[in-house]
Assembly symmetry: C2
Homo-oligomer: 480 residues x 2
């Protein structure tokens, strides 16, 4: 397979930040600083006639003034200066310009839209590719390029194309907290030149990318998008969130990225027909990405559930069933084992396992999950740790740590998919400092380090599992 044209574009030997700034807080400052912070190994050229030095780097008055060639430009200048800048880019052999620069067609103004078209014409004529305009550009940790502070510096297998930059940065943060790392993320805004189809196509060939996520507000060439999507889904899972589904959302999308939005129903149908996965929002996108990232294929729906007291167990069963999983009764072999190990409750304990009735009867939640892992009646396992520790600090810490160690051991020894549910909480200052939530953070960290996916609720875990199952029914499924 020939190298994708984007491959060279995304491996620049030098980056110039045009409109660089020495004022902390300005974007021309941040883009420069990110190159330093994330360890970009090529040349960094801040460009601004009003500075001599920014962050210890020599500043050039113009692109032309840079002594060497420049591969990649980050443009932070106002829209009115872009055409002049492009002319300089041509002289310096620039391959790609990321236009952070905004206020083009998304403003809804005719003149701005015309300027945008002129920018496109000039870039095409010069053989320069454009990312954007009106976007955050590239987060590519392996190359040391980033569009936000505090994103992970390590790489992983998820590639993202996103029509929102702030949203993409939030997504990277949230997904990172659940263990995901990224190959590269492109925020592409108005998609003037390179568009969603180009990025999809690139990710499908990119050996660093195993799973593709896309946030999209609209496409200009529907046929091209559909054909590309169908081709890409044949090799890698593609998860899509669509913004601008309703009347007001479409209006917002027009003023955000000048996108023609299309109805929700059309989009759901297109995504399904192309074999991609629909995610309602970034939360569900995270759930699905986490599932593909950590879980082996799911080939059956029979789920074994541990955890939660009585009421939460009842609701777990409801929510799993409502999501399309099968909460099967405990099989006779497990009943027999319980007769021996926990006789007083052998016929009472059930699936889901109400952990509050186990105490002192010879089996723990770990034992129960182990039995279900060993038993062919279950296709997947769900451990619900949502329960807030209600017992004494000392007892809770012991119990939860030992359960975590047990579950992690089961994950290592069993080939069955294991999903762990960990409620997210609205912590206030006092909660933040409470041992209970510090314990929760400690346990989550352990699960993630053991490559176990965590989900914020049973319902969300169950829906993700069902979608992964459906996907594996239609596709050659593997552990991505």
């Amino acid at each position: 397979m020939p190298t994708h044209p984007l491959e060279e574009v995304l491996h620049p030997r030098s980056v110039a930040v045009v409109g660089a700034s020495g004022t902390a807080g300005a974007w021309g400052y941040s883009f420069t600083r990110h190159l330093l912070d994330y360890g970009f190994r090529g040349q960094i050229y801040p460009v601004n006639p009003n500075y001599q030095e920014i962050l210890g780097l020599k500043v050039y008055p113009s692109l032309i003034a840079i002594p060497e060639m420049v591969d990649y430009v980050i443009s932070c200048v106002p829209a009115g200066e872009v055409l002049n800048m492009l002319a300089e880019c041509l002289q310096k052999g620039v391959k790609v310009v990321h236009l952070y620069t905004a206020r083009f067609s998304e403003t809804g103004r005719r003149q701005a839209a015309e300027l945008e078209q002129e920018v496109l014409r000039q870039a095409r004529k010069s053989g320069i590719r454009l990312i954007g305009p009106n976007c955050m550009g590239l987060y590519y940790p392996k190359e040391g390029i980033s569009f936000a502070y505090d994103l992970p510096k390590e790489s992983g297998g998820v590639g993202m194309a996103s029509q929102t930059g702030g949203g993409a940065a939030v997504f990277v943060q949230l997904a990172a907290m659940r263990g995901i790392r990224f190959s590269k993320v492109v925020s592409y805004g108005n998609a003037l030149d390179l568009d969603e189809s180009d990025y999809l196509d690139y990710f499908s060939q990119d050996p660093e990318t195993r799973i593709i996520v896309v946030y999209i507000e609209g496409v200009k060439n529907g046929r091209k998008f559909f054909d590309t999507l169908r081709r890409v889904t044949a090799s890698k899972p593609v998860i899509i969130t669509k913004g601008g589904r309703g009347q007001s959302g479409a209006r917002a999308a027009a003023s955000h990225t000048a996108s023609l939005a299309g109805t929700a129903r059309t989009w759901r149908a297109v995504v399904a027909q192309a074999g991609a996965l629909w995610a309602e929002n970034f939360d569900e996108m995270t759930d699905l990405a986490v599932s593909f990232y950590f879980l082996p294929p799911i080939h059956g729906l029979r789920v074994g559930i541990t955890g939660g007291g009585g009421g939460p167990s009842v609701l777990s069963a409801d929510e799993c069933e409502e999501a399309g999983l099968e909460v099967v009764p405990l099989p006779p072999e497990i009943r027999e084992e319980l007769k021996v190990k926990a006789h007083p409750i052998w016929d009472w304990v059930s699936n889901p396992v109400d952990v509050s009735i186990l105490g002192g009867f010879g089996v723990t939640s770990t034992d129960m999950l182990q039995m279900m892992a060993n038993n062919p009646s279950f296709d997947l396992l769900l451990a619900n740790i949502t329960e807030v520790p209600l017992a004494r600090k000392e007892d809770s810490i012991l119990r939860f740590r030992s359960e975590t160690d047990g579950y992690i051991r089961i994950r290592k020894e069993s080939s069955k998919p294991l999903l762990v549910v960990f409620g997210e909480k609205s912590l206030g200052v006092e909660d933040h400092n409470h041992w209970r939530w510090q314990l929760t953070s400690e346990l989550r960290t352990k699960y993630i380090a053991a490559n176990i996916p965590i989900y914020p609720s049973v319902a969300r875990a169950a829906r993700a599992a069902r979608k992964l199952f459906d996907y594996c029914q239609r596709n050659e499924c593997q552990h991505y």
Copy 2:
């Protein structure tokens, strides 16, 4: 109105813990310790022939051995000892027994179910009321009675009747983190004597309770329940979550509280006909309780939204619209004001307000929310602070703190309902110690202290707002 019979039962002058224990971690220890920790002001009598002293309290070998009368008994003895204990209760003038004791009909065993019926007969004959069996009993912070560690010691206006005890304790924790406090919570398990209708009836008359929440797995007398519910909803909002909606959930409910569950469709219809509010799970129950607790009535659907960058704004519009709110365009008066204050973006900024385009143009997110608060085109306000701070630490802290102060001022000066969205996050150890999440906790605490409800997502806030609107259409609505 005559005093409700439960009123006396719930204000005991003395409590005996039968089956008290000196072993930390045992429930007979915890129930005793809670009375001390939460500051019960009456007499506390631990009962156990094997101890002289527990937690500094004199222990009695039997109920009979207690020199004074006993109002309230917490029973931690095994099921087989309950009948003997009840005989002693009769002698000591006990008014109510909370049977933490379990393993009755919920085990599915005939003998256990028969014993349960015998317990009921003997209690009725003796004029003793029963809470439970198979439940956690009472959390009544004002009286110093609790069933779990670390619940709030302050009181508030929400009363809860719950067929799950662990679930109720979790609910109290989660709701407390979002600013709710409780009048009293009853976990009532198998509902052998006092049942859901009795508690509902009590809460409707209880001046300490303004909002009622109920978790229910099944009712034995459907007619009585429906009539009670309809009567109660005439005076106070009742929010109901139903466990055991599906096949496996119903099976789990049977083994949890021996409940006959009933289908989801029937239950939804019953709840709606009776004028109560249906909550799918504890998350939605919290959202609704928070809404009634903090918001004035919602009499219109036109929502003004600030916050989030471009993509999140687009999705906010979609999610509000999908929940049945109206995301109306900015009215001409606000456009005129923007012409003066922020001319370069006067025709670009929209509702939802994409905060990422405001920078440097003369208006802040607070200004925008203020304009919408002042303008009659909006019935309610939604401020989305879900965006993870992506800028530098120093800039982020300044911006988010100043926005918080501004929003809180608007809440104080405006009569419009204001809902604040604050994403919940799955923090790991390193996140926990990061300034970003410490800042989030600080801001949440400020909002709650200002009586502003927070929600974990735009979709959940919007759904809660819509349900509150619908409720206010049907009922004389007030600020509860």
